[in-house]
């Protein structure tokens, strides 16, 4: 049972969430709940074609509809130099199409009207004529010299966006040649979508008299959005006020800037009235940023004892029509170079080619620290293939190859310094919980009866908390984060951070961190995020960076407050500062434990009774630039049964042992694990955004883009090991993404384990029943 927010020494305790007081009453304030006087509504006209030249746009019928206030086209925006906008990945993206459209559902025109329904009516009346062009759907075809070049705005006459590589190619090739065993596999992580339950949207409220824009937006990174907006729209940054209200889930979807946002801002400036744009679910799934779509090829070498000797990975990354990923600037393939995972590879090499196709733009980090999910899936799947080839138990293979605990800090062959971990212990704990030997015995018995049961492992290592300013920036802005703490005279605290939670529980967990440092209760600390006028600058909440960065900033800002508080305490206790000790809740005079003062007493003194010459007040700000990233890890075991008649897979058990370092709130951590595993389950078994050969999107809504319900979702069993991060102020590593990063491979490995007696080593996810059935049929297995 959860504990009340009035609990003292709250760090590490399952404190009930403060934000739930409003959410359980239906009093969250999400974007669409905000209604401003005189507000208008914007709807977008979208392209039915994946690739076509626009020959004519006629807006006259739309403009004649009573209630329609404005119709915008790309030509209109071009006059303002706003037809294109920069993406966070350093590419540019059309706001409203000019010339040609590059993906189905691309934004072509915007209609602003008195009501949402009228705006949609108006959008239906905009007449657009297209001259269809052949669509480039296959990213491998896109790279061929015969393929049409899609992007006419770029100088390079190629669909290749970037080639990125890391590691020692020659050394890797040599090691592969010398290896006793080399396994290869083509591993695909299909295009999926974060699909938070609340779609994206904004209200732009421009006030011409003040020259001031208030922008309410579903943003995981309000400060970054304000800066981008200042650069794009030419508005002075201090006259843009970004407010990110309660957010109904983000998962990376709400990091980028979308054409609908820019159109709403232009409309508000043009009309001097507030303009709201909320995307429908169909628009969300078809246009605002997919994830994954990595086509990977791996070669993995091992010696006679099953010790890995080399890893080579080459990847084609389908980015769609515009590279709208949100990766740090120096990392076009994100942190994919974590691909050596938890294993001690002497040498490795990875290359990624980014490609344009006629699909929606993106490549966002969906519950993922920038392509870490793809990397983890690849290495965990490849290790499974190696175990099959060596006829070795996959748990044994992993134990043999883990980076040993004494090797930390560990230098990976692709350039990272892993902070800490005890992979063998974490795996052993998972195997103990699930009773692995008993499962293998049961599997043998069932196999003898012709039944299909599988056990899959994933022992992943993540890399999160981007990141150190020496390496990480987005559009030049260093990826630190921040916290400002103000302690008021009665000892109550308001703390503001540059992050923006979307369900992670920051209002509680950051309050726990600060309360712990200041000897207060969670109830005493009010956390505010998402308002650029009040919060200190920060890069936002995504890539599991809130706890590693803002969490560190919160602890360090609190310690700054405590440093000053200690001086005041010395004054109150009438001793030297050096004779004051902090016992976790009070300042105590050394050697006189009965003489102590509380933080509220110190706070009051900060405003009423200061030492001579001290600046009044009790507050501090900390901008935290971490010395390194953090490396959460875990060991997952999936147990599945396959229905031979239909190919349907049932997940019988799933054990997740995570090591995210110091745990701030175990209840919240378990909640994050449950949610991430459920998303991983969906990706493994039912989610994909496919396209037909003309580039038509085949999963444009929740009828075809499948979100699992409570009926399909397995019961999750969680466990933990704790290996604190040595460099993080409280030893925490971040956890939100681990389950989504680590679990897809466990599910896939389990299904393949069940089918391995047939010689199967790979099936592409999602593992729809029909795919499993096709494999069974190929091998003559039927009910």
């Amino acid at each position: 049972m959860a504990l009340e927010i009035t609990e003292s020494r709250p760090l590490g305790k399952p404190i009930k969430r403060k934000e739930d007081a409003r959410f359980v009453r239906g009093q969250g304030r999400y974007l669409d709940d905000i209604k401003l006087p005189d507000m208008l509504y914007l709807a977008l006209v979208r392209s039915p074609y994946a690739h076509a030249r626009i020959t004519r746009i006629d807006t006259s019928r739309a403009q004649a509809l009573p209630g329609v206030r404005l119709v915008l086209t790309g030509e209109d925006l071009a006059k303002m130099n706003l037809a294109w906008m920069p993406t966070l990945a350093g590419d540019q993206q059309m706001v409203l199409a000019t010339g040609k459209v590059l993906f189905q559902y691309q934004e072509v025109a915007a209609v602003v009207a008195d009501s949402r329904a009228l705006a949609e009516d108006g959008a239906q009346l905009v007449e657009v004529e297209y001259d269809p062009l052949p669509a480039v759907v296959d990213p491998f075809w896109a790279l061929s010299p015969q393929a049409p070049v899609l992007r006419e705005d770029r100088e390079e006459a190629s669909n290749r966006i970037f080639h990125w590589e890391v590691g020692d190619l020659d050394g890797t090739e040599r090691a592969l040649r010398d290896a006793a065993t080399v396994v290869t596999e083509r591993i695909r992580m299909p295009r999926v979508h974060p699909a938070p339950l609340e779609p994206c949207g904004c209200i732009a409220d421009y006030n011409a008299a003040r020259g001031h824009l208030t922008w309410y937006v579903t943003s995981q990174a309000p400060h970054a959005h304000r800066t981008v907006l200042a650069m794009v729209a030419g508005l002075p940054e201090h006259k843009i006020h970004v407010i990110s209200p309660d957010i109904g889930g983000g998962f990376g979807n709400k990091v980028p800037v979308f054409p609908g946002y820019v159109a709403a801002i232009v409309a508000s400036i043009s009309l001097n009235r507030p303009v709201k744009w909320i995307e429908a679910r169909t628009e969300n799934l078809t246009s605002t940023n997919f994830a994954r779509d990595y086509h990977m090829e791996v070669a993995l070498g091992a010696d006679r004892d099953g010790r890995v000797t080399a890893l080579r990975v080459s990847t084609v990354a389908d980015h769609g029509a515009f590279d709208a990923a949100a990766d740090p600037t120096k990392f076009p393939a994100g942190l994919f170079s974590i691909v050596t995972g938890s294993y001690d590879f002497p040498v490795a090499y990875a290359a990624v080619d980014g490609v344009y196709t006629n699909k929606a733009p993106g490549g966002v980090a969906y519950r993922c620290s920038f392509r870490v999910t793809e990397a983890s899936f690849l290495i965990e799947r490849a290790m499974n293939t190696l175990a099959l080839r060596l006829n070795m138990d996959p748990a044994e293979l992993r134990q043999r190859n883990f980076i040993a605990p004494e090797r930390f800090p560990y230098q990976s062959p692709l350039g990272w310094t892993y902070d800490s971990g005890h992979y063998a212990a974490t795996l052993q704990k998972a195997l103990d919980i699930v009773d692995y030997p008993a499962l293998r015995r049961e599997q043998a018995e069932r196999r003898a009866r012709g039944e299909l049961m599988g056990i899959g492992l994933s022992t992943f290592t993540e890399i999160v908390g981007a990141g150190p300013s020496s390496t990480f920036d987005i559009l030049g802005i260093k990826m630190f984060d921040s916290c400002e703490i103000r302690v008021h005279p009665t000892g109550k605290v308001i703390a503001r951070l540059g992050t923006r939670h979307q369900g992670q529980g920051h209002e509680t967990t950051f309050a726990q961190v600060i309360a712990e440092e200041l000897g207060l209760t969670t109830d005493d600390v009010l956390i505010e995020e998402g308002d650029t006028d009040t919060a200190p600058y920060g890069l936002g909440t995504y890539a599991s960076r809130s706890t590693p960065l803002a969490g560190g900033a919160a602890a360090l800002a609190a310690r700054r407050v405590r440093d000053k508080a200690k001086k005041i305490a010395a004054h109150l206790l009438e001793v030297d500062e050096a004779e004051v000790e902090w016992d976790g809740q009070n300042f105590v005079a050394m050697g006189a434990p009965d003489r102590s003062v509380t933080m509220p007493a110190v706070a009051l003194a900060a405003y009423t009774n200061l030492p001579h010459g001290m600046e009044p007040g009790l507050e501090a700000t900390y901008y935290y630039d971490p010395p390194n990233l953090t490396f959460p890890n875990g060991a997952y075991v999936a147990v599945v049964d396959i229905d031979k008649g239909t190919g349907a897979v049932t997940v019988r058990r799933f054990v997740a042992v995570d090591d995210c370092g110091t745990v701030i709130n175990p209840m919240v951590v378990d909640g994050q694990i449950h949610g991430g595993l459920t998303e991983g389950f969906a990706i493994a078994f039912m989610q994909e955004i496919p396209f037909d050969e003309d580039g038509n999107c085949l999963a444009p809504n929740f009828m075809d883009y499948l979100v699992p319900t409570a009926v399909e979702t397995p019961h999750w069993e969680t466990g933990r090991t704790v290996t604190p991060s040595p460099h993080h102020p409280i030893g925490a590593k971040g956890v939100g993404e681990s389950p989504n990063v680590g679990s897809p491979a466990a599910f896939a490995n389990a299904v393949i384990d069940a089918l391995s007696p047939l010689g199967v080593t790979n099936i592409d996810i999602p593992l729809f029943p029909w795919k499993v059935w096709e494999v069974l049929r190929e091998h003559g297995v039927a009910e």
Partner: protein
Amino acid sequence: MFPNAFDYAAPTSLDEAVDLLSRYGDDAKVLAGGQSLLPMMKLRLAAPAWVIDINRVPELDGRRESDDALILGALTRHSAIEWDRDLDADYPLLRETAALIADPLVRNRGTVAGSLAHADPAADWAACLMALGASVTARGPQGDRLIPVEDLLVDTLTTSLELDEIITGVTVPRPAGRAAAKSLKLERKVGDFAVVGVSLQVEVGSGGAVSRVGIGLAAVGPTALRAREAEAVLMGRPLGPEVIREAAALAAAAADPASDRRGSAAYKRDVVRVFVERGLTAVQHRLADGQALGA
């Protein structure tokens, strides 16, 4: 997303409803449960000028039993059937099927007759009611006519109803002998349309020989289908592994599925075989265990 503008009428009698339909014909859509119509209107795939809401027509509500049949009012909601355990005694296939439709919230609004009139080949009711040999009563300006469900469903999203006809009720015949039933649905998740659906009911005579059988198939043809040859092979024989396998193979042969993202035609056909075999086997056990009408 918002529907196009339309005029709304909520007649309070059947005559008034038929009258409105006669007047607006093709420009009108009947709103019963609305769980298919309103999503299509929101996506602007349907844009009727008139919406005739029949939910205030009292004649369409409720249900009654005659000596040899159950008559469901057109507004009978899926959940009303799902929750009525009394139906199991005489009509064991109804609750089995109702519980598999869409999701629990949709089942609180969606209606049996609305599902039939929409004529989606993947819909669960059509296969079930075909298996049971049910008919609908349609009311038009000329009065009532009885249409067997098999004749009602002409093609995908197409029925034999005239533009000015409304389904007023569904007549489900009562089994004459001991009966047991099973409904199976393969869906990718709750709320999904069937990849394959099989609804079947078997009646046996005193010697245990099959005296009547209905096997309805969903999502494997342009409409729901009845596996007639499979039924024929079972008639007059007691259920047993051999005849069940024979029937399952014939049912699979009767299926005419299309390949799509839910699977290939070969896959769906094989799942029909598997489901018919499982369904008949379950029915055989139920009959043997006495979990059947008249046992």
